[in-house]
């Protein structure tokens, strides 16, 4: 054991840094990837988004559900 800690603790700190790098790398490499949504589904979702916006607008006018 060194005066800074034993191998297990030093390894834990190194693994911490590596796992953060892994997550940052993964996040940036896949930043714009939609994943499991097909182009058709993406198109459908866009249409639904517009409909949802319209419904929300209507609900706003009625005062919502609170």
């Amino acid at each position: 054991m060194s005066k800074y800690g034993d191998l297990s603790v030093i390894l834990a700190i190194i693994f911490n840094l590596l796992s953060v790098i892994l997550c940052i790398g993964y996040g940036f490499l896949n930043w714009n990837k939609e994943g499991d949504i097909s182009p058709e589904e993406a198109e459908k979702e866009k249409i639904w988004d517009k409909e949802e916006e319209h419904i929300n607008h209507e609900l706003d006018n009625r005062g919502g559900i609170q």
């Binding site: 005066k3 603790v9 834990a12 911490n16 796992s19 892994l22 997550c23 993964y26 939609e34 919502g64």
Partner: protein, 531 residues
């Protein structure tokens, strides 16, 4: 410390939280908004909400105190929190959960399980487990916040518990998950900033990273005798292999909390709040940095507080906190940090507690309304949207009352233990069926029920007859057999998850293999868009 300044800072903070709570309230139109924040949450908000919910006062105050006594081997828990709690959870569990939740129109974790197997029993039973056990974890979070308020502001503990709980309950009841997630994002940002300052300040105070760690190593002879006998020989080394503290750290804390995060209902539901995998991908990077700074600081700062205290007062942290581990961090901030930091840290703690507590109240509330009442007691009635939201609000109020009562009853040093119990229990009951339902079409309803009930039964058996601390509290084993636990040696220190999780996994898998899938159409629907 200037109390007027502190009170002004807190009031400004509460005003910001109230504004975002109100914003969530205004944007809530239906039960989907109330339970899933409309499924259109921004990745930053989702990542910060996940992180801030995950990291509570239990981690900062409770586990920070434990780290001051058990040392830096807890850095393995930070690794588990990042690698399992963020990378595995988001990349492998999160994306499938989001998609499956959408396919099955699930609004809560119990509903996801129930709909995947077309089983009202699974949904109601899961909701009931959450309703019974989550208040214990919520109480631990509440205790952490109340201890800090008591320590910094001199407000009596009981009053702190009640006022704080009412404050959090108010915006959860009004705005549902939208309010919870908006306020979580603000609170997460504050936690990140405060913990980063604490980390830098501590290392600067101790002459840098290397000097600080070397000073901590040189304090080995100051470790209390009982802790040395338990296996800790240095605060910068791992405990002796197989010693009681080795089992506590690696079975309860690293395994229980590290693995338990994967099946936490309040965290799983966050994956269902985003629109696509893009948001989850982005949240991976943000979440990892957040966890590294917040949790890493806690588990480094806990042990290092011994050096700071020893240099200033000639005492270690455990002695400075009157042997109550829950008081180590509050005392450290009060005694060792400059007064301006006390203001910032107060906000960090309020944020950590409010963000987790609000999510816990929300999950308990939705378990009561959606899972137990709507699908159980009122199963034959078609409830209106307004009624479901009203029932959820009543559920949240009920959970608030139970949590406050528990926080007033539970004893000293309970925070880390109560958190580990809840995380371990959730993993023991749900991790195996939840994992298999996401990845394996062959899992059956009977297999899932066997896994959940088996995991719960083994956990309860271990708490009552095997695991020292809980068995001692229940006293049933002592009354029946004359000894506190059934087994001696290292076994009273081995966490129940070590037995319960494998049993749950084996039961889920084998019962699924010997039974047939009951609901092919639902399974196909659940896996739509998933490979």
């Amino acid at each position: 410390m200037n109390y007027i300044v502190l009170i002004i800072v807190i009031l400004i903070y509460l005003s910001v939280i109230a504004y975002y709570g109100y914003k969530g309230y205004v944007l809530t139109k239906n039960s989907s908004d109330y339970m899933l924040a409309g499924r259109d949450t921004h990745p930053f908000v989702m990542a910060m909400s996940y992180g801030a919910t995950f990291i509570s006062t239990s981690a900062i105050v409770g586990f920070g105190g434990v780290a001051s006594l058990y040392g830096m081997s807890l850095m393995w828990l930070v690794f588990a929190n990042i690698f399992i709690g963020i990378f595995i959870a988001f990349v492998f569990y999160g994306k499938r959960t989001r998609r499956m939740g959408l396919n099955l129109d699930a609004h809560t974790f119990p509903e996801l399980l129930g709909r995947r197997f077309d089983s009202k029993f699974i949904q109601i039973f899961t909701g009931t487990i959450i309703f019974i056990f989550m208040p214990v974890y919520a109480a631990a979070v509440l205790i952490g916040a109340a201890r800090i308020i008591e320590s910094f502001l001199g407000v009596p503990y009981e009053l702190s518990v009640m006022v704080f709980s009412v404050l959090v309950g108010a915006y959860v009841i009004m705005g549902g998950l939208r309010s919870v997630m908006y306020t979580d994002a603000i609170q997460g940002t504050l936690m990140f900033a405060g913990m980063l300052v604490l980390l830098i300040f501590t290392y600067v105070k101790l002459g840098g990273v290397f000097d600080a760690h070397a000073s901590l190593t040189s304090l080995s002879d100051k470790i209390p005798e009982a802790i040395q006998k338990g296996g800790i020989l240095s605060w910068t080394s791992t405990p002796k292999l197989g010693s009681p503290i080795w089992w506590v750290i690696y079975s309860s804390l690293v395994t229980g909390v590290g693995l338990g995060v994967l099946s936490q209902p309040q965290l799983v539901v966050r994956f269902m709040t985003v629109k696509s995998n893009k948001e989850i991908n982005r949240a991976v990077a943000i979440g990892a940095i957040f966890i590294f700074i917040t949790v890493g600081t806690t588990y480094l700062n806990g042990p290092l507080s011994n050096v700071v205290f020893f240099e200033k007062y000639g005492k270690i942290a455990f002695e400075m906190a009157d042997k109550n581990l829950d008081k180590v961090i509050p005392v450290f901030i009060n005694e060792a940090m400059p007064s301006w930091f006390v203001y910032l840290f107060m906000l960090v703690i309020l944020s950590a507690a409010m963000s987790t507590l609000s999510s816990q109240y929300h999950v308990i509330g939705t378990s009561v309304s959606r899972d137990i009442l709507e699908y159980g007691i009122f199963k034959n009635r078609k409830l209106k949207e307004n009624t479901v939201v009203l029932l959820t609000r009543i559920g949240i109020l009920l959970s608030l009352i139970i949590t406050v009562m528990l926080a007033l009853k539970l004893g000293d040093g309970i925070i880390a233990r109560a958190t580990a119990i809840f995380f371990g229990l959730m993993a023991s009951c749900f991790l195996a069926p939840y994992t298999l339902l996401l990845f394996w079409k062959r899992i059956t309803r009977k297999g899932a029920i066997a896994g959940i009930v088996g995991g719960l039964a083994v956990s309860v058996f271990c708490f009552v007859f095997l695991h020292g601390k809980e068995a001692e509290i229940f006293g049933i084993c002592k009354a029946l057999t004359g000894s506190a636990t059934l087994l001696s040696g290292m076994w009273p220190f081995v966490d129940p998850i070590v037995f319960a999780l494998p049993v749950s996994l084996i039961l889920t898998y084998t019962v699924s293999l010997i039974t047939t899938v009951e609901n092919y159409a639902t399974v196909e629907n659940a896996f739509k868009g998933l490979k």
